[in-house]
């Protein structure tokens, strides 16, 4: 590494996390350059969501360091950490919309919490942000439980980008959607990330989705990164783990924990 290179937006070194005897992350290293879009692929239960939650500070890792903009976020105090998180957006695997609040309050929740806007200004702002993800003003008054899964994902996307973050995390944004809606969500993600100039960190099982969103793809297996490369190279990576994942074959180095 030469000295002219800027520090990566996110630098992870030796990250480990176990729940009781179950090792989920095992000395994981990963760099995410600023402004790039990385997609992490890997089997169910391989620790992808745990990885994101560690970066967000929702789970405390057992060992390792996480730097954001060159600053160690694990040793930060509460207030400093909150300030860093203020520049991060997150789309949760299950959307995680607040079902006690209408859609517009969900979308502007972070803006109101940070006192960037008042509740009165929030509704028109929410309608603007909803328009960016292709939802009409009529959705704003609905409750999240009245929306379809695809609409919930879009509202969650609107909520994640509302505060104009410079890092956005997407945990399986297209899982559970039909291929067309999946492609629409992917396009929205690409468009919004580009508009914000943000760094994107996504997780997916869906290879088509990965190729649409990613500059770089990283494969996680048994708690560490086993391959990392440009998205275009994924179909001929030469890596047995990636090959098995791309083809969906049951024969290969990846053994799912399934009893027969």
């Amino acid at each position: 590494m030469t000295s002219v290179e800027p520090p990566p937006k996110i630098r992870i070194r030796g990250l480990s996390k176990a729940f009781g005897p179950k090792v989920v992350l095992d000395k994981l290293d990963l760099d995410v350059p600023a402004g790039s879009s990385i997609v992490v692929i890997g089997g169910s239960g391989s620790g992808k969501s745990v990885l994101i939650k560690c970066i967000l500070g929702l789970i405390t890792p057992d060992a390792g360091t996480i730097e954001i903009d060159g600053r160690d976020v694990l040793s930060m105090g509460r207030a400093e950490r909150d300030a860093v998180n203020g520049h991060i957006g997150m789309l949760f695997q299950g959307a995680a919309l607040f079902d006690s609040l209408p859609v517009w309050e969900n979308v502007c929740f972070g803006l109101i919490a940070k006192r960037r806007i008042s509740r009165r200004e929030a509704k028109p702002r929410a309608v603007e942000i909803l328009a960016q993800v292709g939802l009409g003003a009529d959705v704003a008054e609905l409750s999240p439980s009245e929306l379809s899964g695809g609409m919930q994902k879009r509202v969650a996307l609107a909520r994640a980008i509302a505060a104009q973050p410079d890092i956005v995390f997407f945990d399986e944004p297209t899982t559970g959607l039909d291929p067309i809606m999946g492609a629409i969500i992917d396009d929205l993600i690409v468009a919004q990330v580009k508009r914000l100039g943000a760094t994107a960190f996504s997780i997916t099982h869906d290879m088509a989705s990965a190729q649409r969103i990613a500059d770089t793809v990283a494969m996680i297996h048994k708690g560490s990164i086993v391959w990392k490369g440009p998205a275009a190279a994924i179909r001929d990576s030469g890596n047995p783990y990636v090959d098995q994942f791309v083809t969906g074959s049951t024969e290969g180095p990846i053994r799912m924990e399934v009893r027969r």
């Binding site: 939650k53 967000l56 500070g57 929702l58 909150d82 998180n85 203020g86 991060i88 957006g89 997150m90 949760f92 695997q93 299950g94 995680a96 919309l97 607040f98 079902d99 006690s100 929740f109 972070g110 919490a113 940070k114 909520r159």
Partner: protein
């Protein structure tokens, strides 16, 4: 021999996990109290919780109190008639209601109604990542979810118990006057005659403590629930059971503090 040792071992393990949970509850309570006094505050949420816990519990608490006052008058009349002390009915009713039955029955009813609702709501938010989402949106879940419920329950339960006290005495009055043929004026005089400030006050202190305990157990169980719908169901049951037991335990402790000589 091995079976006996295994049995003793499992008792020990059970005791240990109860103590560990008790420690976690205390830490949770301390942390929540710390958040109670530091901004940001959410008055809107506090108001909504007070309405939910207080106002909507009124019918349940009112019915419980009236019928308890009524049955108390009937029971003490038939019991005391055996030694010709029927005149004490009014006094027995008012002391039992204000000191014991008002706060305990209101507490238990609210524990069933509100403790369960709090645990289910917060538990669902936990297992669907909504609590994590709060954190990522610059909002502390302890302040946003736990504090309003704790404060609302602690403030509102004494108010409910004032209502329960009045209605309980009224229930006794109805049975006393219309069924047992007491003179209405004499019954009321007997009601006031031996009633002291600390009888009512101790009941209200109990109510505040019970309110805190109900909300605390609901929040704690919900906050730490895991494993989907089943986990939320377990959290709800645990919240109601543990709050009910703690209400009876604290009822004894507070009575001891006020009245034991």
């Amino acid at each position: 021999m091995g079976a006996v040792l295994g049995f003793i071992g499992s008792i020990g393990a059970g005791l240990f996990s109860v103590l560990a949970t008790a420690g976690q509850v205390v830490l949770f309570a301390v942390s929540a109290l710390g958040h109670c006094v530091r901004p940001p505050f959410y008055p809107r949420l506090l108001g909504r919780q007070m309405l939910e816990i207080g106002y909507f519990s009124l019918p349940v608490v009112a019915l419980t109190a009236i019928f308890s006052g009524m049955v108390l008058a009937l029971q003490s009349y038939t019991g005391f008639a055996r030694f010709s002390a029927e005149g004490a009915v009014a006094t027995v009713v008012v002391l039992s209601i204000t000191r014991e039955l008002g706060p305990v029955l209101a507490g238990l009813m609210v524990a069933g109604r509100i403790g369960a609702a709090i645990a289910a709501e917060i538990g669902t938010m936990r297992v669907t990542d909504q609590i994590d989402a709060l954190t990522t949106l610059s909002t502390n879940p302890m302040k946003y979810l736990v504090v309003p419920r704790l404060v609302a329950a602690t403030l509102v339960l004494p108010m409910l118990v004032v209502v329960a006290d009045i209605l309980g005495v009224m229930g006794g009055f109805i049975v006393g006057v219309f069924k047992l043929d007491f003179n209405a004026g004499a019954y009321m005089t007997r009601t006031w005659e031996f009633l002291k400030f600390e009888d009512v006050f101790s009941g209200l202190v109990k109510a505040a403590v019970f309110g805190f305990v109900i909300a605390l157990m609901g929040c704690f169980q919900g906050y730490h629930s895991k494993g989907g719908a089943q986990g939320v169901g377990a959290a709800t049951t645990n919240a109601v059971v543990s709050a009910s037991i703690l209400i009876l335990v604290f009822n004894y402790v507070i009575t001891e503090l006020f009245f034991a000589r």
